[in-house]
Each structure stands twice: as structure tokens, then as C-alpha cells.
Symmetry: C2
């Protein structure tokens, strides 16, 4: 009753859409901080984190290193060999909490899925991994519903904004600074990011002009 | 045990940030379709909808017409006179469902709040309206938490992406076309809107060049 939580992670050159406001070093440090928040939430939900990375990553947690595969190929290789239920959790979900993940892994369906912004899939729980495969390119949420249906698997959609909120763009940082409680929020605040409400619209502002060392 | 659901609504000139892809008439029709979806969800959750509008609106539901007040002022006037618990629900939440609203109104706390994208407040349930007031300008989510705390009221944050997703910008339409099931999704589809996934990024496309009559 303690599912593995597969967390795909790309240590090098992550989060390119934040390059307007974070340096390459800052983006790498920020991505690591988000990963640590996700790992902490997974552990709080009694899941065992397994980092699925494109290169070896400095962490105490179990790792699977997959060099020459895309995201879906890498995860499907792990799914095909998995024993017991598996949760796949994206690494850029710093609002994730133990209770939110618990709602996913305690589903009574064969599959539980949390959509991400923009048609994606942020979390997916698979009771019997050998019967399912993932396809993360494009409109993956609709694809995953269809794959489950074609395999005759029941599927629950979990209604969670904490797991729906992936951090890709500058405006997503508003969500992190509003609702975050972990290391990645602190990292942004240490860099001088704050919320600003001008004309009623909320955005992020960076106070310090010179970047602190990451 | 059947709370009123106050739904603020602006019939004229709504959703200006969609003006790049919808004509003024289409935006008004789209806003009405979203309102109807929200009303249907509120009724499904056993709430009694009350439209709080800036002008009289053609609807069978109960209406309160407030002419010369801003959103917060209008709602606070209603709250101060309300008998029994009250839910305030934004009109641009077309993914709202009965079960999602049920999670809000069945809170065991004095207040239940669902944050919106960008620091806002999309739904707020108040067990004793006379003890609370709203302030919707800017970072209203944080303000509402503070108002509850200062009034000594317990507050639950409801983790729902269906109620978190307000429709303001073109990219929000991706969420509606992916997850919507009601009239506002159908309205967009009838106008020729579809999802498109190019280079793995999902966006909306409008097929018909000529606008159908709204």
C-alpha cells in the first residue's frame, strides 16, 4: 500500500520559458527546489519517490537513469517492469501536498489522473502498471483517458488545483508565491521575487537587479 | 441547508481580454453561456442561485440588481442582510460541477474559499455572512484569508481546479475545450473553436473565418 512515485526530472537546462526572469543557473536551482518540494509531498503521502532522470542526479532518493529515451519511452519502460501500483508525478508541481497526493493514490478506480494546465497530465496513478502506457506529447490528458478506456480500465479525474498548477511561465510564479509553502517559494523570495498588484492585476516583480549566486 | 449562491454578473461588455478572438456580441453570448453553466452547477449542488447584476438580466433565477456599486460593495450589502449561509461564486467558472461546489458548501469551517488563477478568489462560502466581508480587488485570496483570521473565523481552502479555472484569456479556452461539458463549451465549438497541438503545445484555433451570428 505504498506506491512508488516516479518523478521524471531533467537536471540540465530546465524551465526554458522562465529564461526571461531567471538565469540558467537559477533555473537549475529552482527546478531542483521544486523537485524537493514534490519529493517531500510524495513522502508525506506515504509514497516512495523514484527520480527518473536523464542523467545521474545528486539525491538520497532512489533513481532510475535513462539516457537515450524520451519521457514517455522512459516511463513506459519502468511501467512495464513495475511491481505494484505506481504514481507518476511531474517535478514542477511545487504546490503538491501530502493530502492532495493521497486523494490520487486512494482512488477506487484502476487509474486516477490529475490534468495539468493546457491539456497536459500532471499526475497519474496506475493500479496495475503492466496494463497501461503513457503518452505525454501534446494533449496527453485526453490521450490518457482514451488509453485507459481502450484497456477497459476505470478512470477517476481528481479535481485538485494544487496538482493542476505546473510551473512553466512567469505568470505561474504568482501561484507559487500565493500558495507555496516549501523550498521553491523560499528560493524565489530569496532571489527578491514578490507579488505586485497594479490596477488589480497580480504579477511577480523581482526587487534585486543583480542576481544573487545560485 | 440550502445556501444561496450569489453570482455576480456583468451583462454588458464582459470578458474584454477575449476581444482578440471574440466579437463584442460573441463575448456577451459566451459570458451568458458560462453564467448558465455556473447556475446549473449551483443547482446541482442544491444551492439557490441569485444573480447579482449591474443591470436587469433576462433569467428565471432570482436577481438582485445593484446599479452604482463596485463588486465588493454590492456583495457586502447583500452579505450584511443575508439570512443563513451564503456561497459567492464567480460567473466565469464554466468547469464548475455540483460535486465541486458541494465540497465548498459542506465545509466544517466557518469559511471555505477556492482561489482563482492569479491570486483571486473564485468561490467563497460563508456560514455567517454578517461576520464577514469581501474585498475582491487585487490579491483577494490573501485578503480573504486575513479578513477571516481577523474575525476569528476558521477557514478551509478547497483544492479544486474545476473552480480554480476562471476564463479570462485565450489560453484559458484550452481548459474549457478540454474539460468543459456544458453550454459554454458548446458555444465555442459552434463558433468553430477546436484544440490544436503544434510542437507539443496546445492552443485554441478558430476554423471559421466569418463569425456566425451570436
Amino acid at each position: 500500500m505504498c506506491p512508488h512515485a516516479l518523478i521524471p526530472f531533467k537536471p540540465a537546462g530546465p524551465k526554458s520559458r522562465l529564461s526571461g526572469i531567471l538565469s540558467p543557473e537559477e533555473r537549475e536551482a529552482f527546478a531542483r527546489a521544486m523537485l524537493e518540494d514534490v519529493i517531500a509531498a510524495a513522502k508525506d503521502a506515504n509514497c516512495s519517490p523514484v527520480i527518473v532522470a536523464t542523467e545521474l542526479y545528486d539525491s538520497e532518493d532512489i533513481q532510475v537513469t535513462i539516457a537515450d529515451k524520451d519521457l514517455s519511452g522512459a516511463l513506459n519502460e519502468v511501467l512495464s517492469q513495475a511491481v505494484g501500483s505506481v504514481l507518476i508525478l511531474m517535478a514542477d508541481l511545487p504546490l503538491a501536498t501530502g493530502p492532495a497526493i493521497q486523494r490520487v493514490v486512494t482512488t477506487k478506480s484502476n487509474i486516477a489522473i490529475v490534468p495539468g494546465r493546457g491539456g497536459g497530465t500532471n499526475a497519474i496513478f496506475v493500479a496495475e502498471p503492466a496494463k497501461f502506457h503513457v503518452d505525454y506529447y501534446g494533449m496527453s490528458f485526453s490521450k490518457h483517458l482514451r488509453i485507459a478506456q481502450e484497456a477497459g480500465l476505470s478512470c477517476e479525474v481528481i479535481d485538485s488545483f494544487l496538482l493542476h498548477t505546473d510551473i512553466d511561465e512567469e505568470e505561474d510564479l504568482v501561484e507559487l508565491l500565493t500558495h507555496g509553502t516549501g523550498k521553491s517559494r523560499k528560493y524565489l523570495e530569496d532571489l527578491g521575487f514578490t507579488l505586485s498588484a497594479e490596477n488589480g492585476r497580480v504579477s511577480v516583480k523581482r526587487k534585486n537587479v543583480s542576481s544573487p549566486r545560485a
